[in-house]
Symmetry: C2
Subunit: 342 residues, 2 copies
DNA sequence: GTGAAAGCGCTAACAA
DNA sequence: TTGTTAGCGCTTTCAC
């Protein structure tokens, strides 16, 4: 059995209060007493019981992070950044996977599993705007992503519309006119797909290019395989295009693979741009031009915002919307200058 | 302030023990009493305080998982599987990143940060066999990976030597004779690199092919970029080879990219095989033949083994070594039959 | 500068 | 079947 305060106190011949004082660096302890206590601590190999401390303080020093699935690179990179940021702040992170399933997400929000933590960073995928009321929870919460806006909690996310518009403008500036899209969601208005598609349309409109629904590929899940399938459909349909905007990197990479299999040269015949700037985008063939949406900033900001809320648990400052800066990461799949078709 | 047992008891007009009985599904509670208590619980929105429960029971229901870095796909996929397995078992997972740094790994093992959890699944990368004594910790521990063997804790890992040998044999069976290796570590004997290299050499020896140090590429970190660099060096050296064994998938993918840039056809000129069977290996161009080392089994086994140790905390069964089965996942980059060079 | 004692919210032995 | 009560290990007033 592990040693307790009492054991240390007995061995050092002092009261537990004195031991507690030593442990918590309370200044007014006589040096010789302190030393005696420290020796006893060392001898017994005493370490404080965090659970008991937590019970007293009402805090655990842990935060929860709920994401759809760690095996999706985007969320793995996000989680890595969140854990690193939390560690810098002295907090520890409990990771939950929801699979992007609405019911599991809602259940998680009410779940007692979270009682082990002081607050939650939540990246919903299945829930949508009409579920906004479920975000009204009795603990500190920071929401990520584009599924729900104007909720009762702080929200850290990216500038989807502007960034997607910039991506599209990048292609237009390089001389592309028939820009296909991969990953659209039927009828979605907000959500990553809806917002990014809107940015795309804004860019087209600004350039006087008509929107053509024929070169928009729909796919609900944003996995590599779906990008590949959507691109196959586009090719099978026989529509013409000289560029592809993958609404995320994995879609773009899947699409790029199919393009190459079909003998289309990237970027000569078809330029490809993605969204997310995954590590992987740097190493594909060709390397993937993409939107860097500021995940690191999002992770850091989510952690500090949550910890602030936890610290000031009482105060009712209104929820904030925090937006990351983006930039276009120009690589081989869609260079900046116009490439003349062979 | 959240409601407590007392509040519920008061409202329901019973003692806290009765409320506790209801909550813990103690059978001998009169139905009408139970109903009254349940109504009170609903009215107050009572949820048990897990910290207090943990203090009583000495358990937290959380386990820790320590890995080098979630942004490495292998560890992300491992973590995803561990979290899923833990959830099935009713446990929650706290994820720590060590960056593969020996000092951080050792510090983590002694850290109080873990006091929030009942046990640890630990995947060391910086530590090595001589650090085995640090694994003698006063809490349930399951070790993963190939850095340390015969330690005082349960160890779940893969059959590196046999699997690497099988991978090499696959290339040999397809008619390859000059098989380069990417990712070797200078002088390493155990550790993934050392063991896999040993399997490679065993396969060569068995086939009567001499080992040639000239076609072994060294690189300490196993990132895509390192695979690419190592392959560039190999090409620059002008050595001949008709196959490449990437000691993991990311190395193989990085190497494959460089090969293609250099105009070598995969698999016609050079066959490529990896190790890990990352999700990504399925979607590269060409898709990557690789060793499936049973990560899922490893994750599930690590979790159940740890939970068993936690449950039987007293008993001192000797540490076990648990080995996952592997298989060769044959894809385009190294087909089973010999491809005749054009 | 140090000690005594209450209590965080819960569980479980024991009583009734 | 239900109530009383003693802790789990710690922090923290309040005395001394």
């Amino acid at each position: 059995m592990a040693a307790t305060l009492h054991d240390v106190a007995r061995l050092a011949g002092v009261s537990i209060k004195t031991v507690s004082n030593v442990i918590n660096d309370y200044p007014h302890v006589r040096p010789e007493t302190r030393e005696r206590v420290e020796r006893a601590i060392g001898e017994l190999g005493y370490t404080p019981n965090l659970t008991a401390r937590n019970l007293r303080s009402g805090r655990t020093g842990a935060i929860a992070l709920a994401i759809p699935d760690l095996s999706l690179s985007y969320f793995a990179e996000l989680a890595a950044a969140v854990i690193a940021a939390a560690e810098d702040a002295g907090a520890v992170v409990l990771v939950e996977q929801t699979d992007g399933d609405r019911d599991r997400e809602i259940e998680l929000l009410k779940s007692q599993r979270l009682k082990l933590t002081d607050g939650l960073i939540f990246s919903p995928l299945g829930m949508s705007q009409e579920d906004v009321a479920f975000l009204d929870v009795p603990y500190p919460l920071v929401v990520l992503g584009e599924r729900i806006f104007d909720g009762p909690a702080d929200h850290v996310t990216m500038r989807n519309i502007e960034a997607a518009r910039a991506a599209t403008e990048h292609l237009i500036a390089a001389g592309r006119r028939r820009i296909a899209v991969i990953g659209a969601h039927e009828g979605e208005v907000i959500g990553s797909a809806g917002l990014r598609l809107r940015g795309y349309r804004e860019a087209l409109a600004a350039a006087g290019i008509p929107f053509d629904a024929d070169i928009v590929g729909f796919t609900t899940l944003w996995h590599r395989a779906n990008g590949a399938t959507a691109m196959r459909e586009l090719l099978a349909r026989g529509v013409e295009f000289d560029a592809v905007f993958g609404l995320n990197d994995t879609l773009a990479l899947g699409a790029m693979r199919v393009l190459q299999e079909a003998g289309r040269r990237v970027p000569d015949d078809v330029a490809v741009i993605g969204f997310d700037d995954l590590d992987e985008a740097r190493y594909s063939i060709p390397s993937l031009t993409t939107v860097h949406p500021g995940q690191d900033w999002i992770a850091r900001t989510a952690v500090t915002t949550l910890l602030e809320r936890i610290a000031g648990a009482g105060e009712a400052t209104p929820p904030r919307l925090l937006l990351a800066d983006y930039r276009i990461e120009v690589r081989e799949s869609a260079p900046a200058v116009e490439i003349s078709a062979a």
